[in-house]
């Protein structure tokens, strides 16, 4: 009887998960497999040569242009991640520890306000703010703080970092906030009671317990950032371009889908490698309740 009930609930479970499962297969696994397949083919002028080969991979790995783009993308994504998480942590900490419980939802709601406008418009706004005759430069020259407009803030990697850090801030704030909320406040009192100061309590108790949230924030920001091609195209200038821009160029302009697919797979593998390494480095804080 027990066995029968188990299979019944098993069947019901299967029925329940099958629509999203199909959805996932069609929209995630199939495109991914297609990209993987393409990466082993080659472009033969107008037709695609479907014989299996590693030629694209050896070409991509040998070409300094591609490798430099990939390295640069990883660096920019890393910088964006560091900037975002460092800015997000104090905000999450403030909302969790210093905002009255009844006001917390309001604060979280306010944090999501930038999302009310489209991503594209926000990127253009940063162009207006950071431009040669933009808001920032004209204010600073107006105040007499600078004689000439600053040029290192637009059309380079800095602009990409600033824009993306702003765009991803809420994604970093929320997981850190949740991790901080879960910390039993009596643990902090216990630490004070055992002789630690507020600062050492933060370092010995609050931060270690918030690490799962920080790790989640890092991954949530880092992974999509490396694939972003809108922001680098609009504010990045020549040295702010990232690997995703090259993938786009391969597919749409150079009509070399197999090379684009290969670069996409390589980018994906690097992200996976960096993410796994990061998780492994933080494994100590990620052990759940055992």
């Amino acid at each position: 009887m027990f066995r029968k009930r188990l299979t019944d609930s098993g069947r019901r479970g299967l029925i329940l998960v099958s629509p999203p499962f199909l959805y996932g297969v069609l929209l995630l696994a199939v495109p991914l497999a297609t990209v993987l397949l393409f990466s082993f083919w080659t472009q033969d002028y107008l037709t695609i040569d479907t014989s299996f080969t590693f030629a694209n991979y050896s070409e991509a790995l040998a070409d300094p242009l591609y490798m430099q783009l990939l390295r640069g993308s990883l660096l920019i994504a890393g910088a964006v991640t560091v900037a975002t998480v460092l800015l997000a942590f104090p905000i999450a900490y403030f909302v969790s520890f210093h905002v009255q419980p009844s006001r917390k939802s309001l604060w979280l709601f306010l944090i999501t306000i930038p999302f009310w406008t489209s991503y594209l418009i926000r990127v253009f706004l940063w162009k207006v703010i950071l431009g040669y005759n933009g808001v920032l430069n004209s204010s600073l020259t107006g105040l007499g703080l600078i004689d000439e407009p600053l040029s290192f803030i637009l059309y380079n990697a800095n602009a990409v970092v600033i824009t993306l850090a702003h765009a991803f801030a809420p994604f970093a704030i929320l997981p850190i906030f949740v991790a901080l909320e879960k910390i039993d406040r009596s643990l902090l009192e216990a630490s004070l009671d055992l002789g630690e100061t507020r600062l050492t309590t933060f370092l010995r108790v609050t931060l270690p317990l918030a690490m799962p949230g920080v790790v989640a924030a890092v991954l949530i920001v880092f992974i999509p950032t490396i694939g972003d091609y809108v922001t680098p195209r609009l504010v990045g200038g020549p040295d702010g371009l990232m690997i995703a821009n090259m993938i786009q160029t391969q597919f749409l302009k150079l009509n070399n889908a197999p090379m684009g697919a290969t670069l996409a797979i390589l980018a994906m593998l690097s992200v996976t490698a960096v993410s796994l390494a990061f998780i492994w480095l933080n494994r100590r804080w990620l052990r759940g309740p055992r």
């Binding site: 009192e189 216990a190 630490s191 004070l192 009671d193 055992l194 002789g195 630690e196 309740p289 055992r290």
Partner: protein, 360 residues
Amino acid sequence: MTLIQLTGVNKHFGDYHALRDIDLEIQQGEFFSLLGPSGCGKTTLLRTIAGFEDVGTGAIRIDGRDMKGVGPNLRPTNMVFQSYAIFPHLSVAENVGFGLRRADMTREEKTRAVGQALEMVGLGGYGARAANALSGGQRQRVALARALILEPKVLLLDEPLSALDKKIREQMQVELIKLQREVGITFILVTHDQEEALVMSDRIAVMFDGGIGQMDDPETLYRRPKSKRVAEFIGMMNFLDGEVTQTGARIEVKVQGLGRCTVESEQAPGGVAPGPVGIGIRPETLSLLFEGETTTRKQVDAVVDEVVYYGDMTYYDMRVAGIDKPLTLSMKNLIGRPVLDVGTETRVAWDERSLVLLGR
């Protein structure tokens, strides 16, 4: 020697008067309990002593030192929290050794101290375990070891046993008393469980509405409660109306249903004045007269109204002419003693010496 001295401590949370004129002296090595219903201010008082809340007015002195402006990390107190507050990201040994970071000890000395502390609370060999893998009783012991390893002058315990089930709780009560005698540290226990307070404490302060209702040793508190509130909170008590007709060394009092009595002045611990008065009688000081039994004590006719059988004891509610509420009494179930049925007519024996005159 007085270790902790509170004078005129008052505290407000907004309009709420959380602590009212607390005057308190706790001796070195004493096991002191703060007992009261929830919301009476006992935890606030404990947290004020620990330094988590600052005093509004009044002063707290520990070991002769004024604690004003001294943070919890600098006070010679350590606390066992109600939730135990075991650090989930650390092992048992790391939890116990948490407060030793600043201690002037070598790594080996610290390891040895942690081992000894765990040994003391009966958790020898548990050091490497994850704190999350412990049962409630074990977490409690880790919290104790973590606080005692710092050899505080005062150990503060905030309802430490309330989350444990009955068997383990009773076992921990005995262990805590033993431990306290062993280490000789002053313990201040907050509890809402009157039995726990009676079993464990040298002295108890019963708190109501932020103030101290009565402060005495357990026996005095039980036998001579000063007010109806204290009497109600500690153990079971029958309340009767009465009228004092004469005061002095011996007090004459007319008791509802029981008639004229003479009592000693110590039976009125809350003071006495001529006029109406509340009178308390503990159930175990009354007894039923079974068939054929006689007594030299005073007697009154009664009818069994309700029987509650507890195994070792039977509680009877007795209807007595002239008393509106039934009198509760308890009888030990000795060999050969029957359990009476509801409606049985019998007699209740009582004694003037067991009456307590309660202040208003």
